[in-house]
């Protein structure tokens, strides 16, 4: 059972455009929703994260929008740059004594110059 569904699988955007990646989850116990960025040959790195008590979080050009009732969250990259080209993973986690994250399958973003 795939608990976090991510779309699209790949995305091509022109420099300066907006990149949008969407995720949907099923488990209502999830209370932490991070996005990870991964460059080729490197491990994923935390980009931005949100908890369900807010509907939006912005850090620089990166924004997470969260819709609790729809069980969906999305990553928006404003003014996309070629250096943003990477694979992006959404994830969801539930609290407790043994914290674990469930990841989406990833989106390969290519920003053309």
């Amino acid at each position: 059972q795939q608990q976090v569904k991510q779309s699209p699988q790949s995305l091509i955007v022109q420099k300066g455009g907006i990149s949008i990646i969407n995720c949907a989850y099923e488990n209502t116990a999830f209370d932490y929703f991070p996005w990870y960025q991964q460059f080729p040959g490197k491990g994923p790195a935390l980009l931005i994260a949100i908890r369900p008590d807010v509907s939006e979080k912005k850090e620089g050009r990166f924004t997470i929008s969260f819709n609790k009732s729809a069980k969906q969250f999305s990553l928006h990259i404003m003014d996309s740059q070629p250096g943003d080209s990477a694979t992006y993973f959404c994830a969801a986690g539930a609290g407790g004594s043994n914290y674990k994250l469930t990841f989406g399958k990833g989106t390969l973003l290519t920003v053309n110059p």
Binding site: P34, G43, F89, N98, Y99, K100, L101, G106
Partner: protein, 113 residues
Amino acid sequence: DAGITQSPRHKVTETGTPVTLRCHQTENHRYMYWYRQDPGHGLRLIHYSYGVKDTDKGEVSDGYSVSRSKTEDFLLTLESATSSQTSVYFCAISYQLNTGELFFGEGSRLTVL
């Protein structure tokens, strides 16, 4: 750099041979994780540890075992490697209790012929 070292970084082995991957951290953190990354599957949790000698299974634990005899080291063992275990393996650590903020190593690429 979160003080995580994975070894070996690359390994080619034959079906049926045992393989051990090592994750070493210098940060003395309690939580450690092993994920595998495969095209089309994203990141999937194999095993995790919440303390010395305290480990538990993730979603794809069959064919893998782990050990943690010291805080700084988390070993992943494939007792008898199969071609389906060809993958990139990532170790991660969690800095804080009850959060999903993971810091990943640079990965170990394993090829099973």
